[in-house]
């Protein structure tokens, strides 16, 4: 178990870190969010459109600097919705590409391949990779392996996002409801 002293030392060391120093390191680090785009910021236009739909107001602007808590909750919900929709599209595109990559070992077993892929995606990364090699030969193409790894990442990311979206909805609904109740009370008075 890590002792308190060790924890403090770790914190001090981490605080001294200034990130990558070499130009190669900086370049690699700069690509972190772009490698597959799963964690990159959502498209601003899509986010704005979703925000307006949730707010039910076509003139609403999602500017975090001048939003109240209800609007910020709507923005968090909009972001989760847009990310989930994007992930669905990304997953379908990768499955289609993987299917083409593995066409040589498919023959008429296309449905079986899709069944196996779907089933594999829900394993942890190492188990999925091992099973992938077992099902499709010892050396699937580099691209096929990358696609398979990305599908596993998407599945994990999606699970987390579903939870985040649900919490964002509850928060937004609560705040929206409070505002509606407040307006009703004022109108009765």
């Amino acid at each position: 178990m890590t002792t308190r002293k060790q924890q403090e030392a770790n914190r001090r060391n981490a605080g001294r870190s200034t990130g990558p120093r070499t130009s190669t390191g900086k370049a690699a680090s700069a690509r972190n969010a772009r490698r597959h785009g799963f964690y990159a910021a959502p498209d601003a236009a899509e986010l704005e459109a979703m925000y307006r739909i949730i707010m039910g107001d076509e003139a609403a602007r999602p500017d975090p600097s001048c939003l109240g808590s209800r609007e910020l909750a709507a923005l968090a919900l909009a972001e989760a919705e847009v990310r989930l929709a994007w992930l669905r599209r990304a997953e379908a595109a990768r499955l289609r590409e993987l299917e083409s990559e593995l066409a040589h070992c498919l023959h008429d077993n296309r449905a079986l391949l899709l069944a196996r892929l779907q089933e594999m995606v829900w394993h942890d990364k190492e188990r999925a990779a091992a099973q992938f090699r077992e099902a499709f030969g010892p050396e699937p193409s580099e691209r096929a392996q990358t696609l398979q790894r990305e599908l596993v990442t998407i599945a994990g990311h999606r699970r987390r996002l579903v939870g985040r979206r649900r919490r964002a909805f509850r928060r937004w609904y609560q705040l929206d409801q409070s505002q509606c109740d407040g307006l009703q009370t004022r109108s009765k008075e």
Binding site: E46, A49, M50, R52, I53, I54, M55, G56, D57, E58, A59, A60, E81, V82, L84, A85, R88, R89, E91, A92, L95, R96, E99, N109, R110, A111, L112, L114, A115, R116, Q118, E119, W122, H123, R159, V162, R166, F169, Y173, Q177, C180
Partner: protein, 188 residues
């Protein structure tokens, strides 16, 4: 004052925002549309966001149907494989599709195929070889039980997710519904 958006005004923006449904190459977009139409009729979404929730529920429902289909495919293929091996060789032969001749492979497929006459022919041959269909199905199921179980796990997660979305949709619709006159009087 903010302008309220009706669902019909936003039906096209929703499609352009979410994209077309994520279907696989062998899936029929018309069938997805039918499913979506049925769910839209069931939930009657009145706002753009309610429409988005219905679309998300439709995609989850589609995923669930897909998993059921994939499970069925896995099992049918395994039944065909086991039947072919039983017909071809001695019962203690290792199950390996690579060792099956095309003739027996075709017979195995006939057992799970759409042609009733071909199926019956294979059934007769299986019985003549001293085996039963139940035995073949049971053996095939055991061989793919792990894969089927993982599809079931995924299905359970999808059902839970769909339940959550339906609850959210109901919350929004309940809030939108006008209070019945008696309830309004009681509130006053």
């Amino acid at each position: 004052m903010s302008r309220s958006l009706s669902s019909s005004q936003l039906s096209d923006p929703i499609t352009s925002l979410l994209g077309s449904p994520s279907l696989w190459q062998d899936e029929d977009p018309d069938q997805f549309d039918e499913l979506m139409a049925a769910l839209t009729a069931e939930f009657s979404p009145a706002t753009a966001y309610e429409r988005i929730l219905v679309r998300n529920i439709s995609e989850l429902q589609w995923d669930m149907l897909r998993h059921r289909r994939l499970q069925k495919t896995l099992l049918r293929r395994q039944i065909a494989k086991v039947a072919a091996l039983i017909l071809q060789g001695p019962p203690d032969m290792p199950f390996d599709l690579g060792l099956v001749s095309p003739e027996y492979e075709a017979m195995g497929r006939a057992l799970v195929g759409p042609d009733p006459a071909a199926r019956q022919k294979t059934e007769v041959r299986i019985e003549a070889a001293g085996h039963g269909i139940d035995e073949i199905v049971s053996e095939a199921y055991q061989q793919v039980a792990g894969e089927i179980a993982r599809h079931e796990q995924r299905l359970a997660a999808l059902i839970e997710e769909r339940r959550g979305l339906r609850e959210e949709l109901e919350m929004l619709q309940k809030r939108r519904r006008p209070m019945p006159p008696e309830a309004e009087l009681a509130a006053e």
